[in-house]
Amino acid sequence: MGPMDRLISGPWRWLVVPVLVVPLGWVLFAGIGKDPREIPSPLIGKPLPAFSATTLDGAPFETDALAGRPALVNVWASWCAPCVEEHPLLLDAAARHGDALAMVGVIYQDSADNARGFLARYGDGGWPDLLDPSGSIAVELGVTGPPETFFVDATGVVRYRHVGPLTAEVLDEQLAALGLDR
């Protein structure tokens, strides 16, 4: 019996299993839960880019209108299913905080008629919704797709960007960070 045969029939052969399985498992599990494409918004810690636009009601809008109080900028579209999901949370936040929180919607790649239909169906919180037909506001904000929400502090600096539908936890936490309690 050569050394090879002894290895093949001896107890040491069992080492093969952990030697192959453990590193593979480690590598696979280590990658979970991290988004390879997640790039934190370059806007965080910087002032919100200034833009002017027309609201859904036809009124002019300047970012100056947000100055002096915490603001929430929500990018949405009528064709976006998760926007429907998060809409009641936004209505609730508007009702709860009133004038203490400035809110503004940015309509992403959608027509004014569709957007009005959405508000008529799911509720209009009364905050201005901006038309962005050329997509220039979306580009300024670096939006990858609706819904996205930016939290801006009273000095006009972007503090947080949330991609995807808001949850009650994220909303409360971020508004609290801006100094707004429940």
Partner: protein, 661 residues
């Protein structure tokens, strides 16, 4: 109502597969055919339930039932029926449902076909297949429920992923790939059964060779169709980018191909048995790793559409499968006998052994390159990616060496040979190979890899041609048949061998086409105003006008299209476009491709300036690309020829077993 039916089918499917697993395990232990029959019937039921659940999903998609979250996220009222239908496999939860359908389908097919055969192996084959199916039903019951409902119900859905609603090939490429992936569970199940029952003789190998070849055909066709899809849709002018998910499909293909070769040695010479088992285990594990990479979003890729809670489930499945199967193999290691190949260095089995070593080298290189970003991140926290140049550099020499062995293997006899035979058999092929290189050089081809590829392809094709001529000649002489009849009878009497030759010929065609298209193409990037032209390799592309309009098939999509006139070896009009899908943050390029046997003209619209009406175009001349697809078709054809049931063998009476299905 319909989604509820689907959900119930999934949950009952989980119960059915678990019941089947228990029946098979008990039936195998007690050698009780009634229990095995029960398990088999439970698996038929599981397949029927997967069919019901998939049907429920398709109906929900076609009727745009946005109360189902999956439908709301992947469908819109304007989505055409064809794309609604194929949305079954366009996103995470649906693709798992589709996967389950195929996996239970394979399981039911195998259990049915073997209802009277291999009575000692089948309970354990059934157990492995039932547990695999149970895993997928469990994923759909907990983290990846395809029938999750949402309220309030949206009036309009998000629409399908823009990249996936752009080309009808999406209806073909994923099902082929999935059929290949899921089918690899069958050889795995037989391998496990052989280890459990200690019946590691030639029986399981004989069965498994055909049952590997069939999913191998699907996997091959799926990979080629995927390359074709990415060529026609992604607009960068190429067909293979070493994207993690392309690699995920290639990895099990490599080990399955290695298995198909090593199993011939194992069957003929009784050697390489441990090795052959290991390849079966590796192939199935790699299909799971592939699913994990595709579906967990751990690596950035064109395909990583999703990020979800199923990641840990799949990682756990990979670890558990590998640990259990490897444990079984290690347990039986002392009984698997001879692990070292006999025979001389110049013999067919030696060529096959080298072939396996090289396939393993490519597998390791591709696996390492694919997982490297994960390894780096696990150790240092950095995010990096491994690019195509690395994969090309590492793998090109190995593929060239494989091509060489492809010529050596078939012409070398089993067990070794004399120097005289070698001289006789390889003189002409060698001459052909040596002459092909300067000929290609004179035709303008440069670089060692493409020249070596052409030389070796000529060598391989002549080796195989000589083999066929010699075989048919002997037949014609001894039986007085004419040449045509002799070739047909020779090849159809030994389908495995000559089907294999055809596969090799197809691979040669593909290798030459890849080598030429990758090195001899040309391209230009240019910005044109209306009326201006660009020239490239004998073609003149004239930009006529810009058209912006909504798609007739889906009004939510705006298409910006450059209307071009083409003159040169091919002529006519071209319409490369950028499509703006409301649910995609970036514009999706739709390239215009003119395919011909000699070369393709490929035009992508890069950007548009609406104010000045100018367009930026990327124009490529891609030689020989059509031959990649044709080569793929030859490979598939050859494999079908090889796998085609032999009339004489199926005519043998099956061993009667008392229990009837």
């Amino acid at each position: 109502m319909i989604p509820t039916l689907g959900h119930v089918a999934v949950v009952v499917g989980l119960a059915a597969t678990l019941f089947a697993a228990a029946s098979f395990a008990l039936g195998g232990r007690r050698a009780d055919p009634d229990l095995v029959l029960l398990g088999r019937r439970a698996m038929y039921v599981a397949f029927a339930l997967a069919l019901v659940a998939s049907g429920a999903m398709v109906v929900s998609l076609l009727t745009h039932d946005f109360s189902v979250q999956y439908v709301a996220r992947n469908n819109a009222t304007t989505t055409p029926p064809f794309y609604s239908f194929i949305s079954l496999w366009a996103a995470l939860e649906g693709s798992i449902l589709f996967w389950t359908l195929l996996a239970t389908g394979w399981a039911a097919l195998v259990l049915y076909r073997f209802r009277h055969r291999a009575p000692l192996l089948m309970p354990w084959v059934g157990l492995a297949l039932a547990l695999g199916a149970a895993f997928f039903f469990a994923v759909m019951t907990w983290p990846g429920d395809p029938f999750t409902r949402t309220t309030p119900i949206a009036a309009e859905g998000n629409g399908p992923n823009a990249l996936l609603q752009n080309h009808p090939f999406m209806g073909l490429h994923p099902p082929l790939l999935y059929l290949g992936y899921t089918g690899m569970a069958v050889p795995f199940a037989f391998g496990v059964a052989a280890l459990i029952t200690k019946r590691t003789d030639e029986e399981w190998l004989g069965i498994v060779r055909r049952w590997t070849l069939v999913p191998w055909i699907f996997l091959t066709a799926g990979i080629v169709a995927g390359a074709w899809w990415s060529y026609e849709v992604l607009g960068w002018g190429g067909y293979w980018a070493w994207d993690p998910v392309e690699n995920a499909a290639l990895l099990p293909w490599l080990t399955a191909t290695a298995f198909i070769h090593s199993s011939m040695v194992a069957e003929r010479r009784g050697t390489l048995r441990v090795w052959t088992h290991a390849l079966v285990i590796a192939t199935f594990t790699l299909t799971l790793v592939g699913t994990f990479l595709t579906r967990s979003g751990v690596v950035a890729s064109v395909h990583s559409f999703t990020q979800s809670a199923i990641g840990p489930w799949f990682a756990a499945a990979v670890v558990l499968t590998l640990a259990l199967a490897l444990g079984l193999l290690v347990w039986r290691l002392p009984e698997l006998g001879d692990t070292r190949p006999h025979g001389r260095p110049v013999s067919r089995e030696a060529a096959f052994l080298f072939n396996n070593v090289l396939f393993l080298a490519v597998t390791f290189a591709v696996l390492f390159g694919t997982l490297y970003p994960l390894i780096v991140e696990a150790t240092s926290g950095d995010r990096i990616s491994v690019g195509a140049p690395w994969f090309n550099q590492v793998n090109a020499p190995i593929f060239v060496a494989l091509l060489f062995l492809m010529g050596m293997g078939p012409a070398l006899p089993w067990g070794g040979t004399s120097w005289r035979t070698v001289r006789e058999r390889f003189a002409l092929p060698l001459l052909a190979g040596v002459l092909a290189v300067p000929a290609a050089w004179l035709l303008g081809l440069r670089g060692w890899a493409p020249l070596a590829t052409i030389g070796l392809a000529a060598f391989v094709v002549v080796v195989m041609g000589e083999e066929v001529v010699r075989g048919a000649g002997a037949r014609a002489r001894s039986r007085g048949e004419n040449a045509g009849t002799a070739v047909v009878r020779l090849t159809t009497r030994n389908r495995r061998r000559y089907g294999g030759y055809l596969v090799h010929a197809g691979i040669c065609v593909m290798a030459v086409a890849v080598a030429i298209s990758a090195t001899a193409g040309s391209d230009v990037t240019t910005t044109l105003a209306p009326g201006e032209s660009a020239r490239l390799g004998g073609y003149t592309v004239t930009y006529d006008r810009l058209v912006v309009e909504r798609l007739a098939s889906d009004a939510r999509v705006t298409e910006t299209r450059a209307e071009l006139t083409l003159a040169g070896p091919q002529s006519g009009s071209l319409h490369p476009a950028l499509r703006d899908y409301p649910n995609s943050s970036s514009l999706i390029a739709t390239p215009a491709v003119r395919t011909a046997l000699g070369e393709d003209l490929f035009v992508t619209l890069l950007a548009v300036d609406p104010a000045r009406q100018t367009v930026s175009l990327h124009i490529l001349v891609n030689p020989m690309v059509a031959w990649i697809w044709l080569g793929g078709a030859i490979v598939a054809l050859g494999a079908v020829f090889a796998a085609w049931p032999d009339r004489r063998r199926t005519a043998t009476v099956p061993v009667p077993v008392p229990a009837e299905a």
